[in-house]
C-alpha cells in the first residue's frame, strides 16, 4: 500500500536563456566597479583612522608640552647664615622632639631675612612658601648646619617660576635676570608634585592626594561592580526564567547604562549620604556611586559575552554529566571572560574620568592631605583637574596639564593591566 510521495519540483524551469558570458564587456565592468568600491572603502577607513590618530596626537603633544613644565620647578640657592638669623631653637631639644621644636623655630622669618640679605628688599618675594619645608628637612638631615652659614636649595615663588619658564610679569622677568646673574637659579624635577596634595600656592601643590583618592575610589568601584555585574549577567543568562520580570530587568539595566552620570550623583547623594549617613567626600561613597554607573556596562558586556559562548560547548559539558554550575564555571565563564574584561575596561575607564557624580557627593572639597582610608575626605584626579583649571593663579595652568598627564598615565596603566589579563585568559584556551 504505497502512499502519496512528497511533491517533487515538477514544473520545468524556463528554458532558452543565453548562457552567461563570463568574459563579456558587462562582466568586466562589474569587476571594475567592484574593485573601485573596495578601493573607496579602504580609503574611507584609512581617513577615519588618520583623523582619530591625529586628534590623539594633538591631545598628547599639547598636553605633553604644557604638562612637562608642571613636573619641573625652578629652585633658588638661598644662603642662610644660621648664627645670625632670627631662629629660635634649642639644639638640645632637637633630637627628642624635632617636629615641635622646628614648628616653633620661627623658620619663615629665617627665610625672609636670609632672602632679603641675599637678594635685596624684595628677596623674600622670590621664595615660595614651600621653602620652610625644605629648610626643615635640611636641619633634620644635618643639625650641624645650625652653627654655620650654608646654602640651601628652596623652591622659587610662582611668579619667579613662571618668569623663569618665560611666561611671567615684567617685574618677575627682571628679578629672574638678577637671580641668574647671581647664579642662584636652577631647574629641577619637581618631586613634590608627586608626593604632596592640594594647596593654595601652585609651587607646592601636588597630585598625590587626588591620585590616592582615585586609587581608593576605583578599588571600591571595581570591588563592587565587577562581582555584582558578572553574577547578574550570569544569572540573567543562565538561570533566570524568560518572563515579563526578566524582560523588565533587562530593559532597566540597558537604560541604566545610558543614564547621564550626574543623575547617579544625585542618587548617591540621596541614598548613601542622606539616607545611610555615610561620610561625605569619601572614596567609599564615590566608589559606590561610580559602581552604580559601571555595573550596567559590565552586565551588558557580560551577557553578550556569555551569549556568544556556543551552545554546543554547553551541550558537550552537560552531555558528560557536568552540573549546571560546573558548566558555568568550567566552560562558560572562562570563554566569556575576555569579553567581560573588555566591558570592565570600558566601564572603569569611564568611571575614572567621571567628575559630575562626584561633585554631587561632595568630592570637590579642598582637601590638603591625602586620604588615610576609604572613609577620609578625598578628591579624585578629574575633580582635581577641574578645581585647578578654575584657579586664578597663573601657575595652576601647567599644574592642570601635569595632572591630566597623571590621569592619562593612570588610565593607560589600568587598561594595560586589563588587556594583559584578557590576553592571558584568551591564551589559556
Amino acid at each position: 500500500m504505497s502512499e502519496a510521495v512528497l511533491p517533487m519540483s515538477a514544473t520545468p524551469v524556463a528554458t532558452s536563456r543565453a548562457p552567461t558570458d563570463w568574459n563579456g564587456e558587462a562582466m568586466r565592468r562589474r569587476i571594475a566597479l567592484r574593485y573601485a568600491a573596495e578601493r573607496r572603502f579602504r580609503l574611507l577607513g584609512l581617513c577615519a583612522v588618520l583623523i582619530s590618530a591625529g586628534f590623539l596626537a594633538f591631545l598628547l603633544i599639547s598636553m605633553g608640552a604644557n604638562g612637562a613644565r608642571g613636573f619641573m620647578s625652578t629652585q633658588i640657592k638661598l644662603p642662610v647664615d644660621f648664627p645670625r638669623s632670627p631662629i629660635m631653637i634649642d639644639p638640645a631639644m632637637l633630637s627628642t622632639n624635632p617636629d615641635q621644636v622646628l614648628a616653633n623655630a620661627n623658620l619663615p622669618q629665617v627665610i625672609e631675612s636670609s632672602a632679603q640679605a641675599a637678594f635685596g628688599k624684595d628677596g623674600d618675594d622670590y621664595i615660595s612658601s614651600g621653602a620652610v619645608a625644605a629648610l626643615r628637612k635640611a636641619i633634620i638631615a644635618d643639625p650641624g648646619i645650625l652653627t654655620r652659614k650654608v646654602t640651601i636649595t628652596v623652591p622659587a615663588s610662582a611668579g619667579i617660576d613662571l618668569a623663569a619658564k618665560s611666561d611671567g610679569s615684567e617685574a618677575d622677568e627682571a628679578a629672574v635676570v638678577k637671580l641668574e646673574q647671581a647664579r642662584a637659579l636652577s631647574t629641577g624635577f619637581n618631586g613634590g608634585f608627586l608626593t604632596s596634595s592640594d594647596g593654595t600656592d601652585p609651587t607646592v601643590v601636588g597630585i598625590w592626594g587626588a591620585l590616592k583618592g582615585s586609587l581608593l575610589t576605583m578599588a571600591i568601584t571595581l570591588a563592587l561592580s565587577f562581582p555584582i555585574g558578572v553574577f547578574a549577567a550570569l544569572y540573567l543568562e543562565e538561570y533566570a526564567p524568560r518572563n515579563r520580570w526578566t524582560d523588565i530587568i533587562e530593559v532597566s539595566i540597558n537604560n541604566l547604562a545610558a543614564v547621564p552620570s550626574i543623575i547617579f550623583g544625585l542618587l548617591g547623594l540621596a541614598i548613601f549620604l542622606n539616607m545611610m549617613h555615610l561620610p561625605r567626600s569619601a572614596p567609599l561613597v564615590g566608589g559606590m556611586t561610580l559602581a552604580l554607573m559601571t555595573m550596567p556596562v559590565i552586565v551588558i558586556a557580560g551577557r553578550n559575552a556569555i551569549k556568544a559562548v556556543p551552545p554546543s560547548i554547553r551541550d558537550a559539558a552537560l552531555g558528560i554529566g557536568a552540573s549546571p554550575i560546573q558548566v558555568v564555571f568550567h566552560h562558560v565563564l572562562p570563554l566569556a571572560l575576555p569579553g567581560i574584561l573588555t566591558g570592565t575596561i570600558i566601564g572603569m575607564a569611564r568611571a575614572l574620568g567621571e567628575t559630575a557624580p562626584l561633585l554631587m557627593i561632595g568630592m570637590r572639597a579642598f582637601v590638603a592631605s591625602p586620604p588615610g582610608g576609604i572613609t577620609d575626605p578625598a578628591t579624585v584626579l578629574p575633580v582635581q583637574i577641574f578645581l585647578w583649571s578654575d584657579e586664578v593663579g597663573k601657575g595652576f595652568i601647567e599644574k592642570t596639564s601635569a595632572a591630566i598627564i597623571v590621569l592619562l598615565i593612570f588610565l593607560l596603566t589600568m587598561n594595560s593591566i586589563a588587556i594583559y589579563l584578557r590576553n592571558k585568559f584568551e591564551k589559556k584556551w
Binding site: M1, S2, E3, V5, R242, P310, P311, S312, I313, R314, D315, A316, A317, L318, G319, I320, G321, A322, S323, P324, Q326, H330, H331, L335, W429
Partner: protein
C-alpha cells in the same frame, strides 16, 4: 551485573511524544534498548532520530520549547521522575553529538574533564591511564599521543569526532548514544569506530543513529526505522534489511525514498 546471556532491557521507552512548542516532533514511540544488542536508528533527515535520542539522556531539557510526554526508564527507574538526578543520568547515559564539539581546551583536558568531575581517577597516573585508554579505544591515540597539550579544536573534523567519542567513553557510561558518529570520518576511522562499538557491545547499551545502511547492517543487531516522527518498524536488523514488513521501510532501505 547483568548477565549478557539473557537479554536485559537497559532502557525502555513507552508512548513517548516530544513537542517543540506546538509542533510535535515525535509521536507515540515505544522502544527497548538492551545490553546485548546494538540498536540502530535509521530514517530520512528530519524524521526525529536526534530528537528521540536526546530524550534518552534528557538533553532536551536544555531546549526551552521542548516538552516530553510518556515514560522512559533506565534500569526500571523513570528518568523523568522527581527521584532522578539529571546530572548523574547524563553521566550514566553518555552522548556523542551529531556535530563534533570538543572543548576549546587541550586534547588531554577534553578526555580528562569527565573522569575528573566525577572523581573517577585516583591520581595523576590513573588519569593519564584513563586518557590513554579512552583515546586508544576511540582510535585516536596514535595520531595525538605526542601532542596531548594541543588544543582539541585544532584537530581535523574527523579527529574531533573521535575525540568526542573518547570523551564520552572516558566516564564509562552504561548507555552510549551516538548521533551519526561517523558522518565526518573516512573509511579507516569509521572502521575503528565500528570495531569499538562491537567491542563495547555486551557491557554497554549502545544506540547509534546512522544514514549509512551498510553501517547499520554491520554494527547493529536491532534496527528502528523512523518516519515523520513515528516509529514505523523495529526488529532484528537482519529482518528489517532482508524482509521488512512495511512498504515504507522497504522503500527507504532500497533507496527508492531518500
Amino acid at each position: 551485573m547483568a548477565d549478557t546471556a539473557t537479554t536485559t532491557n537497559k532502557m525502555t521507552a513507552r508512548g513517548v511524544n516530544v513537542f517543540y512548542g506546538e509542533k510535535q516532533a515525535i509521536q507515540n514511540v515505544s522502544i527497548d534498548v538492551d545490553l546485548e544488542n546494538v540498536t540502530a536508528f535509521i530514517g530520512p533527515s528530519g524524521c526525529g532520530k536526534s530528537t528521540f535520542l536526546r530524550t534518552l539522556n534528557r538533553m532536551n531539557d536544555t531546549v526551552a520549547s521542548a516538552r516530553v510526554e510518556g515514560r522512559i526508564t533506565l534500569d526500571g527507574e523513570d528518568i523523568y521522575g522527581s527521584a532522578m538526578d539529571v546530572v548523574q543520568l547524563r553521566a550514566r547515559v553518555g552522548m556523542v553529538f551529531q556535530k563534533p564539539n570538543p572543548f576549546p581546551k587541550s586534547i588531554y583536558e577534553n578526555i580528562a574533564y569527565g573522569p575528573r568531575i566525577h572523581g573517577l581517577a585516583s591520581g595523576k597516573a590513573d588519569l593519564d591511564q584513563i586518557v590513554e585508554k579512552s583515546l586508544r579505544r576511540a582510535g585516536l591515540w596514535e595520531e595525538v599521543k605526542d601532542r596531548l597539550n594541543d588544543s582539541g579544536t585544532a584537530l581535523s573534523g574527523g579527529q574531533q569526532q573521535r575525540l568526542c567519542i573518547g570523551r564520552a567513553i572516558a566516564v564509562e557510561p552504561e548507555v552510549i548514544l551516538m548521533d551519526e558518529p561517523c558522518s565526518a570520518l573516512d573509511p579507516i576511522a569509521t572502521a575503528k569506530i565500528e570495531e569499538l562499538i562491537l567491542e563495547l557491545r555486551g557491557n554497554y547499551a549502545i544506540v547509534i543513529v546512522t544514514h549509512n545502511m551498510q553501517q547499520a547492517a554491520r554494527v547493529s543487531q536491532r534496527t528502528a526505522f523512523f518516519h515523520l516522527g513515528r516509529l514505523v518498524e523495529q526488529g532484528p536488523t537482519t529482518e528489517i534489511f532482508t524482509n521488512p514488513r512495511k512498504e515504507r521501510t522497504k522503500d527507504y532501505i532500497t533507496g527508492r525514498y531518500g
